[in-house]
């Protein structure tokens, strides 16, 4: 088996140590929920803060494209799984200056604010539907900022190699009605980043596929810098590229406020 990376927690170390050599008995000890919890840590909670310039390419089956360019800032508040996001849009050109603020809480609906520069209006935006599309892309809000660990029940289906990586295959089934009825994830045993995720719809047919296309190490944090979400039925996909990724840049919590929505912090948003 592969060597264990320093970023892994003690718990996981133990699990993996047990699993070294013979896979099957050890696998019985790891639960699906453990794995997904680790995945969320690696995928969405790496370091205290995070910034990236994000380019999105929305491509329909005809090859028509829509592009989005945005800067994303993230800060973990330190209270459980709470996080704050600041998103500033550079493109399309006519929406430049539109900014979006999300306060994510552990046990209640997010708070979201939006600044519309053309009419200089900051408005609260309801966060009821975390599964709706994020800015018209194939990603949902949830795909970007994470889904409650408790919302699904998990089952470790298998362990297999995928894209040349040893993976856990975990199935998640939502506990209450949701946009998907089943999600199967291939999670890299080494980095705990998702390699591939398949979402099944209400007809139990494959609806969306997530793939992590490129992973880079940024300051000790394995980061998915290129990813694609494919809507199988609409034959539509969205490609996302992270550039200028930075961890622990020392973002100030004050940035994540209504005031800065209208006046983007130039230090972080060029």
């Amino acid at each position: 088996m592969q060597s264990v990376r320093g970023v892994l927690s003690l718990g996981t170390l133990t699990l993996l140590a047990l699993g070294a050599g013979t896979v099957a008995p050890a696998a019985a000890q790891v639960t699906g929920e453990d794995i997904v919890s680790r995945e969320q840590q690696a995928f969405l909670y790496a370091a205290r803060d995070f910034r990236a310039d994000v380019s999105m390419r929305l491509v329909d089956k005809e090859g028509q494209e829509r592009r989005r360019k945005l800067t994303m800032l993230r800060l973990d508040t330190g209270e459980g799984s709470s996080q704050k996001y600041y998103i500033y849009f550079h493109e399309p050109a006519d929406v430049r200056g539109t900014a979006f603020l999300v306060w994510k809480y552990q046990d209640k609906d997010d708070s979201r604010w939006l600044f519309i520069p053309a009419i200089k209006l900051v408005t609260r935006v309801a966060a009821k539907d975390a599964q709706s599309s994020f800015v018209g892309s194939d990603f949902s809000y949830e795909d970007i900022s994470g889904r409650d660990l408790g919302a699904d029940s998990y089952k470790l289906l298998n362990e297999e190699a995928r894209e040349g990586k040893d993976c856990y295959v975990v199935e998640a089934v939502p506990k209450s009605s949701s946009a998907f009825t089943r999600k199967v994830s291939w999670i890299d045993k080494k980095t705990f980043l998702p390699v591939r995720e398949e979402f099944y719809d209400v007809q139990n047919q494959l609806a969306r596929v997530f793939t992590a296309d490129e992973v880079k190490d940024v300051g000790g944090h394995p980061t998915v810098v290129r990813r694609t979400m494919r809507d199988v039925k609409r034959e539509h996909h969205t490609e996302v590229v992270f550039e200028n990724v930075g961890y622990d840049s020392g973002l100030d919590e004050g940035l994540f406020s209504e005031r800065y929505l209208q006046k983007p912090p130039a230090q972080w948003i060029k």
Binding site: D60, T98, L114, I116, G136, K233
Partner: protein, 776 residues
């Protein structure tokens, strides 16, 4: 061409009847093996090739705007209003079930529970499903009511103005059978026991229900028609064996041609589904062989000689009528519309098969009949004693004795027909292919009365550069066009990107009516649309604007499936463009537009075919009679029949639709049959009694005419009766195109038979001098 080979076919068949019958049976068995592979195709879209402009354009529009080709509408009506918890509970449950149906594009089903709404509540902007959960309190219920009636995007779409009707729009994935999904939906609503009424409507339902009904019709009506004809024949000849032989003639030809069609992999289209009944009717022409056979047998008393002599006497007219019929159908092979070509080829082949059988299988079958049976039957064929014969003679006398009066009455009728023809209204309506009380029609009627319209067309606005659609100027143009279109009585509702932009403007300004307008700057529009696209279903925006914002799609809901409705829309759009000098260009699209184009294409194709058939049939007549003059006379009953029928269609106010235009061409080849038989036999008779070929006097002509009316005329009469009885079955079909075909053919046969028996004698007597000048 020498006659020897044809003679040998009859002789061969008489000499080796068992071989002929065995071969026929073997060929039929081979054709039958193909039948299980049969598949139907009722999609009107396939009437035009995939490469046709309208299909290329429509599929481009569908792809550009993420649209579905097919949509089923489930209407839910409750006289006490649908906005009560119980009904909403049901809608919630039903929508959930519908989402699970395979083939349903679940992500884009629009129902009260899934449709996106944009509102501002307590300073919070909400973009999301209108009613994700059923309202639990009266307050929530009145909130829902307010949301529904306060949003013009919902009115007449998911809620009727009186609040008594709502609808669930169910888009289908490509290639899914609409009837199968409609049946599943019907199954789901059947389990609900509330006061609500449910209506399933939409183009795919009509189309695919039509397809399955078509199969039923083929399986029920074709055999019934066959049975009726069998019965009519039995009453005529009182001989079971011969009646069966005659029927087998038709059956064999049908099996051969359908087997070949299926074997070649062609789907059975609405038109080719009518082929069996057509072939059965065309097969009745062999009645002339039977008719003559009995006369000859009485004269000679020798079965074998009677067969050979019969074939000699009727061979020529039978060949030429077959040729004329074949030509009428074969002309269709040169049309542009594939199902029409297939149908033409199919029936032309069947006619050929029928004629081969007439010269082989039928003579062979005659040899198996006992002499005594024939004797018994032929006794009844005594010309003088037969009531039919007396009737025919009287009819012919009417024409021959009072030719001027007959012709005058005919001309008066013609004048009336011409008046009627000027009133012909060209239109086609696929939903009206079902009868008024059918479920399909009822659903459509109810939903069209309550909501914006079940028939959907698009008008695509095209700018000359990217992002131009976001300019206030372009949006105002689109809005202006929408208002114009909505003023048309056939248009129920229009929806475009303008409605979304205005809605967002209004909502962001705390529902201040002053902001229920298009904003002043392009930037604002861009940001509004971006905002909308941030949380709504991606398809909401994609349906109305393309990616580069160069094109916008206006949904035009029509209250009728008339092809004409879209013509009105197109006309209004063109006029709008001309009047306002708008920078945008507009192109219609969608199913409603397709129906219009298809309707016109079929029609013009058919009119072209009709003209070609007219020429071809005339040439065949001229060649057959070896005389232009006789060809003109023989042409008269045909032209008269056709004109009178079209006149009647015009006068009755029935739309000149696709089935009728198809029939026009076919009718030529069939209506001319009687004239061919009549004139051929009349001239043959005349040359027998006046071998010198001088101009005959009136009494000679009258005598010969009476003989013709009695003897081959009886064949004509029997032929018409059989023909009419076969097609009269179709009058009881549950689908109107079949009824139309039935009524058309029955009246055509009766008219052309009457014309032949009355007017041919009148014309021949009147034009005697001209016709016989220079020898008969």
């Amino acid at each position: 061409m020498s006659k020897a080979p044809r003679f040998s076919m009859v002789e061969f068949s008489v000499n080796h009847p068992r071989w002929v019958v065995l071969l026929t049976v073997l060929l039929s068995a081979a054709a039958l093996t193909q039948f299980p592979k049969a598949k139907t195709d009722t999609n009107p879209k396939h009437m035009l090739p995939e490469t046709s402009d309208v299909r290329v354009w429509n599929s481009e529009v569908e792809k550009t705007f993420d649209l579905y080709e097919d949509m089923i509408v489930l209407g839910v009506a409750n006289d006490g209003g649908v906005l009560n918890r119980e009904t909403l509970e049901r809608i919630h449950r039903i929508t959930g079930e519908i989402l699970r149906i395979e083939g349903v594009a679940a992500r884009d089903v629009s129902s009260l529970t899934t449709i996106d709404n944009v509102t501002m509540e307590g300073g919070t902007l909400k973009v999301g499903p209108l009613m994700p959960e059923v309202p639990a309190t009266d307050r929530e219920l009145s909130d829902l009511r307010r949301a529904l009636f306060g949003n013009p995007l919902f009115l007449n779409r998911v809620i009727s103005e009186d609040g008594n009707t709502t609808a669930i729009y169910v888009p289908l994935e490509r290639g899914v059978n609409g009837k199968a999904v409609a049946d599943r939906i019907r199954g789901i609503v059947r389990t609900e026991n509330g006061p609500e009424r449910f209506y399933v409507a939409g183009d795919p339902v009509a189309r695919d229900t039509f397809g399955s009904e078509m199969f039923k019709l083929m399986a029920i009506f074709a055999p019934i028609a066959g049975l009726l004809m069998f019965l009519a024949r039995y009453l005529m000849f009182r001989d079971l064996f011969l009646s069966i032989a005659l029927m087998m003639d038709a059956m064999v030809a049908i099996i051969w041609s359908m087997g070949l069609l299926i074997g070649f992999g062609f789907p059975i289209h609405i038109m080719s589904s009518m082929a069996p009944v057509f072939l059965m009717a065309i097969a009745t022409d062999s009645i002339h062989i039977f008719n003559e056979f009995y006369f000859r047998f009485r004269e000679t008393g020798d079965k074998r000689a009677a067969i050979l002599e019969t074939m000699k006497a009727v061979g020529r007219p039978v060949r030429y009528t077959a040729l004329a019929t074949m030509a009428g159908f074969a002309v269709l092979l040169f049309m542009h519309i594939e199902p029409v070509r297939v149908f033409g080829g199919l029936v032309a082949f069947g006619t050929l098969a029928l004629r081969i059988l007439s010269f082989s299988f039928i003579p062979a079958m005659f040899t198996f009949v006992k002499d005594e049976t024939i004797q018994r039957t032929s006794q009844r064929e005594d010309v003088r004693s037969s009531r039919t014969a007396r009737l025919l003679t009287r009819a012919a006398l009417l024409g021959a004795r009072r030719p001027r009066r007959s012709v005058f009455v005919g001309l008066a009728l013609l004048a009336l027909a011409v008046v009627g023809m000027t009133r012909i209204h060209v239109n086609n309506n696929t939903v009206e292919w079902f009868k008024g009380k059918s479920e399909v029609r009822t659903s459509d009627r109810v939903l069209n009365a309550a909501l914006g319209g079940t028939s959907l067309g698009y008008v695509v606005a095209i700018a000359d550069q990217d992002d131009q659609i976001k300019t206030p100027e372009a949006l105002r143009t689109i809005e202006g066009l929408q208002r114009r279109l909505e003023a048309l009585p056939v248009v129920g509702k229009t929806t475009s990107v303008v409605d979304y932009v205005k809605r967002i403007n209004y909502v962001l300004h705390d529902e201040n009516p002053a902001y229920d307008v298009i904003p002043e700057s392009e930037e604002t529009v861009g940001q509004y649309l971006f905002l909308f696209g941030m949380s709504a279903k991606p398809s909401d925006l994609n349906n109305v604007v393309d990616y580069p914002f160069r094109r916008a799609n206006i949904f035009v809901q029509l209250k009728t499936w008339d092809a004409d409705a879209m013509r009105t829309v197109k006309h209004e759009v063109d006029e709008f463009k001309a009047r306002t000098g708008a920078r945008l260009t507009f192109k219609p699209a969608g199913t409603a537009y397709f129906n219009l184009v298809w309707n016109d294409e079929v029609l013009w194709d058919m009119i072209r075919g009709f003209v070609i058939a007219l020429v071809v049939v005339f040439v065949i007549l001229a060649v057959n009679f070896r005389s232009l003059k006789w060809a003109i006379v023989g042409y008269a009953p045909l032209v008269f029949t056709i004109l009178v029928i079209y006149g009647l269609i015009g006068l009755s106010g029935k739309d000149f639709d696709m089935p009728i235009s198809v029939l026009s061409t076919l009718s030529l080849g069939m209506a001319v049959d009687f004239a061919i038989h009549f004139i051929s036999r009349f001239r043959r008779r005349l040359s027998e009694i006046r071998p010198d070929g001088t101009v005959p006097d009136e009494s000679t002509v009258t005598d010969a005419l009476l003989w013709t009316a009695e003897r081959p005329g009886k064949g004509v009469f029997r032929n018409a009766v059989l023909f009419a009885s076969a097609f009269s079955v179709m009058l009881f079909a549950p689908l109107t195109p079949y009824v139309t075909v039935g009524a058309f053919i029955v009246s055509m046969m009766i008219l052309s038979a009457v014309m032949t028996i009355i007017y041919l004698p009148a014309l021949i007597v009147l034009l005697r001098g001209w016709l016989f000048k220079g020898g008969a």
